[in-house]
Amino acid sequence: MATPSPGPTRRGVLGFSAAAALGIVPDTARAAPDGQITIASHVSLAPTWFDPAETAGIITPFMMLYALHDAMMKAMPGKPMAPCLAEAWTVASDGLSYAFTLRKGVLFHNGEPVTADDVKFSLERYRGASAKTLKERVACVDVHDAERLTIRLNVPWPDFLTFYASATGAGWIVPRKHVQQVREDGHKKAPVGAGPYKFVSFNPGVELVCEAFEGYWRKPPAIKRLVFKVVPDEATRLAALQRGEIDIAYSIRGELADELTRTPGLSVKAAVGSATFWLYFADQWDALSPWHDQRVRLATGLAIDHKTINQALTLGHSHLTNSVFPENFDFYWQPPAPVHDPARARKLLAEAGHPRGFEAGDYYCDASYANIGEVVINNLREVGIRMKLRPLERAAFFKAYAEKKLKNVVQGASGAFGNAATRAEAFVVKGGTYVHGSYPDIDAAFVQQAAETDRAKREAILHRLQQLVHDKAIFAPIWQQAFISGVGPRVGESGFGLIEGFPYTAPYEDLTLKGKA
């Protein structure tokens, strides 16, 4: 039996109304685009981000994809997987095929219609992160006509849509004819997509200029021009925002964010993405290590003053969590709230044979987040866990983490897309890239869920898996980090926080200027 899609194939009227409320149906009654919004980016924009085929497994390229391109389905306000270019889809009961129906009348920026052929081309052309995984598991794509196609898998893969729609750029559609005509280089230099904004010009490392695509199927954007300026220095971004040179400044942290709150007319926008931070007890499988004792690990978690750290570093906007799994992920299990209880931490340490605390070794972290480490180490010292901070340059840190060269305690983090299963695969279960050791019951649960096609049963298994991770105190979670940005006085709707788990402003067609909405 096929599983119906969330598209408007059933309960037509109700579905249409709900979709309209979410803003995912065409809105043709809007005024012509007008004005300009200038966004100062904290990172240099890479042309690879203009091409869905090259999307790496990081969230930053989606900052561009949401402007220039459109996907079969994607995260939208109120919906983690809203139908976009695909109007509807069904999953075969054996989980081996996904049938899609495309939205009618959708055009690329060059006027060509979006067809099933383009969808097939885009999937087959995809070569970004997870390309190998997708290619191994996707058997073929059958195009039935211009608007219908079926993606067939080699084996049932419950996470297929997660990978296709959100974790990769494979489901973001480019025009086959155009790409083949201008070739890969030409497409990167002047990309054509089906998104709300058309590419106008790009000066690498300097700025990207986009112009509203009035034929965008969902609704014409309210803003005529979007300019992304690269301003690498955080203080300069803030100064530019204060002076009104830009309208949105990405990534303003700590003291500068505080300054932002004190500046009249400017507002702070905090978007909590999928980046969770935690302490990983790398030696917990070594019977001779103090970290082998679960009470010591629990004491560490109790020693962390989550609230104060959050207030000091992200103005209280990060979400305090007791899990390494982001709360916006599919199959998330809600653990008990984190508790800061130094007295109980000391009691647990005493029970574990450390009444006066102990020399706990090294605390490794990515140097760019050493500020978190400094505070946590102070918290730990208060209960007697004495550690030395070992900040490593980001890439060196993750390399050493992946190669299992780090000992004692590792301050880990990940903002990778996915769901609870993909996060567990990388950080919890045997064989994972960043897994120093594992527990048989958790490994068994992971294998079990991977073969389970019934969603409810799979969810139950993944919940159990997360509970085991929590109970065993494999990690001491810190927070799900907020990404803080500044918004200038001209902006009406900034788009921050509309899409859950997305740190940047989006969807761009929803952005408005005050008085011009």
Binding site: A240, R243, K399
Partner: protein, 306 residues
């Protein structure tokens, strides 16, 4: 003379080889660029595929050979990050760097030379002390601090100048001053010491004994000779300003080569870093070579001693 020039060219080529080898090895010591281009949690297969794509799976000597070959052919390869030819990126940024460097150089000379002369002429007096203080501040104040203070004062508080970017003459003022001040201080110090040396020489004493006006002695006879090392230094400084104004260009979001280098280092974009360093280094080596040849032409003792 011919032998002298050939020897200097040989030294220059050796310097270039050592420079290329050093930067090639140095960037690789910083770590794996793929680690910065993938999210933590990326599969080993994806990481390896990216290594293959960038040729980082090849032995070091093969990678070095590709780098040298690309340099000889004037190609420099593709940027890992921007996925565009490095030379295109370099030439896109070059006009901005030339403009900034030219204005900063003019500022540094206009400020540095007169203040150096004044300090030398009024040695141990008020102007000398003021010049020394100016030079001390110029050389010791960090450029990022100077830049941020200028932004706070002239952009945020007074609202007179744009905080960042490029496009108008107003955009140019603060970065040019920040960059120029450091070099003005260096030029001032060298002008002062050079002038003091020249002012103590016999021909200046003779000029004064002959009753030439002081302005003529200083402005014509002393300055002409005192400026030779200053101009030499300015030539090399100009190359440095063009290629490695990293901090100034980053703070002011000025789209020049210094920022390209910063981006290259940040993203471990080996081809970009290698190209900027080798091109900048080649310019300095070339300027030095030309200076050596010119000195030898002017002063026969140099070529004979060599």
């Amino acid at each position: 003379m011919k032998q002298y020039i050939l020897r200097r060219i040989g030294y220059s080529l050796l310097s270039l080889f050592l420079l290329s080898l050093t930067i090639f090895l140095f960037v690789r010591v910083t770590g794996d660029p793929v680690a910065l281009l993938t999210e933590p949690g990326a599969s080993q297969e994806d990481i390896e595929a990216m290594h293959r794509q960038f040729g980082l799976d090849q032995p070091l000597w093969v990678q070095y050979w590709h780098f040298v070959a690309s340099f000889i052919t004037g190609d420099f390869g593709q940027s890992f990050y921007y996925r565009t030819p490095v030379l295109d990126l370099y030439f896109q940024r070059l006009p901005n760097s030339l403009l900034l460097a030219a204005v900063a150089m003019v500022l540094s000379l206009v400020i540095g030379i007169p203040s150096g002369i004044l300090a030398a002429v009024r040695v141990d007096g008020f102007w000398d002390s003021a010049g020394k203080l100016f030079a001390l501040l110029g050389l010791s104040l960090p450029q990022f601090w100077v830049g941020l203070v200028l932004i706070l004062v002239f952009s945020v508080s007074l609202g007179w100048l744009p905080s960042s970017g490029s496009g108008t003459v107003w955009h140019l003022l603060m970065p040019a001053f920040t960059l120029g001040w450091y070099f003005a201080a260096a030029h001032m110090r060298l002008t002062r010491s050079s002038m003091l040396e020249v002012l103590g020489s016999e021909y200046i004493k003779l000029a004064r004994l002959k009753g030439l006006p002081e302005a003529l002695v200083i402005g014509k006879h002393a300055l002409k000779n005192a400026l030779i090392p200053v101009i030499t230094l300015a030539g090399i400084n100009l190359v440095v300003m063009i290629n490695v104004a990293v901090i100034v260009e980053t703070v002011f979001a000025w789209p020049g080569i210094g920022r390209l280098l910063y981006e290259g280092v940040t993203f471990r974009d080996f081809p970009v870093v290698q190209a900027v360093v080798v091109i900048g280094g080649s310019m300095i080596i070339l300027v030095n070579l030309l200076i050596d040849i010119l000195y030898a032409l002017i002063d026969p003792r140099i070529r004979l001693e060599s």
